[in-house]
Subunit: 400 residues, 2 copies
């Protein structure tokens, strides 16, 4: 079963395809882009060793000139210096490399962000295709067009909005993820469950119709069980299908990722450049980013930090009288069940606050936060005080 | 007299204001942008010394937090490394520096291109205002949203389309230009005359209406002489007003720049991202860029190279039977009268051809050129042969 979700952005619209074995469809998908003749796969040293050859094979069999560029793995290499090296390698391919060249980001969020930024800025804009190989990238970074690299002063400070031309999620590639990497993606799934409800409705979420797609796959009606699940909220889905999710059952992962992408696509379609509703995707990320920064990249994963950020945001919402305590408890329980932390002794609220004031999204030093008003609905608040944050962070430090 | 031209690009539309003494209006113009609280002026070491303090004064008097960042002057510094330094300085200003911060490019084309690119990529996009201090930047680079930096493999290979929020051309600043720098701008004026006729009509070219403008200037009806000139073609204008242009008469410069901006604005409005008509702005630039590359940046100016490129393109058009020889002669005569070269002994056609095949705009090694079909109209051709280029370049080498 392959699922396809349309990200509706006018002339920048694109399809996200999710299913097992889709890496083999990469070549046909790129070849279907207008005037595409050359593909350049960008991947980190780890992922290139695992999947680089298969990606390149698919592209070559589709008749595309194909090159594979690699960079050293790790968030520490998400820098302008890495981009500079990629520009060197890319421009060394000219004149075959020109404005019709398509970049392929094969990897996790770091690879997608770097490749997207190079695509946004090489020859003033190349097309690119996202092939996420982590759950986190599949449900989050690969959709929405945020690209960029880190700067010593902060994460993602250098970047651009540049939408991919297509996104292909092969759920089979997620089998090689470590449990910690997988859990990192699940944190973003919980985030979507809190902000966006079921991820169905008017978001273009629908089973693949073979005749309408560049990916030439046979249409198969979804099994009855999946049909029923469509009427569940994503929260219910995560709770009831937890075991199949953690076992990385391909059908279950396809359904999970498609639901998450549908929620993210709806938000992005409504607000491409983050002037309004897109801010909702920051739920859990204000305190989460600050925690990641304070504890230290490497010492805590992004997913773990977001998990803590969501717990704190829910507690803060309860303290403000926005959310009932039972819902906050339900979120915490689900996070624990998915292997994510909900406590982190020793966090300093004062240090977190100082970092939050310097966040890229802060305005003139004023801290904004996205808080849940019920499960499936959030809102932005810009009157967040240091005391409120301190109260919420206290909950993270205490073992109950 | 101030002239204002609207660049029509939907929600990315902006006004170009041209007149004497406009640098004093920089502060009010930036303060008029929504939620602007901080301005960061970017300038090279030469221009900062001449005009940096006046720009900063105007911004401060308008109530804006104001910073001035400089980089070493010269096209050799139009690099990713310079951007990297600017990011460092910019992000050191946080948290006051945020997404509402407005960058001001105070300088020539290099400054505009660098500042625009930093604006396009810092925090995924800041607004910026162009204050061109050269004729070349005023009539060309400051309008249209092309930003970027050079790479060892070629000019402007790294960049983005990012439109300014406003353009302010103070013609008084052009007094300090060397004759060679000034002539460089005139080459682009001749280009506009060949591609675009009068620059009037449906382009939004109109005198300033005081009540409708953020720049709070008194409306003055244009003098009768200028009114009459509006019915002339830009070609006629350049021929008949040559002396006043070369004497840099402020009224004449205002009229000249406004006409050029109107032509460029019309082209950019029709084709923002260079998928069609915008290619016309490359008239004279295919052979021109190759000549600049071959002779060596520094040994020939961009304007001189474009002058030679236009002569060669006209000759090529005559050889193809597209253009009459008298029109080609008229273009050459005007270029000479404006102090621009029309001959360059020793140019190698084979070497130029090799460079042209590798041009950023070449497609799969195929050379495209924009050729005049009459004065005021050009078209694109992609069947340009090495022999045709060799024949045209022969004309450049021979002293007639």
């Amino acid at each position: 079963m392959t699922r396809q979700i349309q990200v509706q952005l006018g002339e920048r619209s694109y399809a996200v395809s999710v299913g097992a074995g889709l890496l083999a469809e990469l070549g046909p998908a790129v070849a279907a882009l207008s005037a595409a003749r050359q593909a350049v796969v960008v991947s980190d040293s780890n992922v290139a060793a695992l999947y680089g050859a298969r990606a390149a094979d698919s592209l070559r069999r589709a008749g595309l000139g194909t090159e594979l560029l690699t960079f050293p793995a790790g968030e520490a290499n998400k820098t302008l210096a890495t981009c500079s090296n990629l520009y060197d390698s890319l421009f060394a391919l000219r004149p075959a490399m020109d404005r019709r060249t398509v970049l392929v980001a094969l990897g996790g969020g770091v690879t997608g962000d770097i490749t997207g930024f190079v695509a946004a800025t090489a020859l003033r804009g190349l097309r690119f295709v996202q092939c996420p190989t982590t759950l986190l990238a599949a449900v989050d970074a690969s959709v929405g067009g945020k690209t960029g690299v880190d700067h010593p002063a902060g994460k993602n400070l250098i970047g651009a909005f540049h939408q991919p031309s297509a996104v292909l999620v092969d759920v089979d590639l997620l089998k090689t993820l470590s449990p910690a990497e997988f859990a990192g993606g699940l944190a973003e799934c919980v985030k979507h469950a809190v902000i966006g409800g079921s991820g169905l409705g008017s978001t273009g979420f629908q089973p693949v119709q073979a005749q309408a797609l560049p990916l030439n796959r046979q249409y198969q009606p979804p099994p009855a069980q999946v049909e029923n699940l469509c009427h569940q909220s994503l929260m219910d889905f995560l709770e009831t299908r937890r075991e199949a999710v953690l076992a990385r059952d391909p059908e279950c992962l396809t359904e999970l990722i498609a639901r998450n992408v549908a929620i993210k696509a709806a938000v992005v379609s409504a607000d491409e450049r983050e002037s309004g509703q897109r801010e909702h995707l920051n739920f859990g990320h204000t305190i989460g980013h600050a925690t990641e920064n304070l504890v230290g990249y490497g010492a805590i994963s992004h997913g773990q930090a977001v998990s803590l950020g969501m717990v704190a945001a829910c507690r803060l919402a309860v303290a403000r009288g926005l959310l009932d305590a039972a819902s906050a408890g339900r979120v915490e329980k689900l996070l624990v069940a998915l292997g994510l932390p909900v406590r982190w002794p020793g966090l300093s609220a004062a240090a977190l606050w100082e970092i939050m004031r310097h966040d890229k999204k802060a305005r003139g030093g004023k801290v904004r936060m996205v808080l849940p008003v019920r499960l499936g609905e959030v809102a932005s608040f810009e009157d967040i005080t240091e005391q409120a944050v301190a109260g919420a962070v206290d909950c993270l430090r205490v073992q109950e």
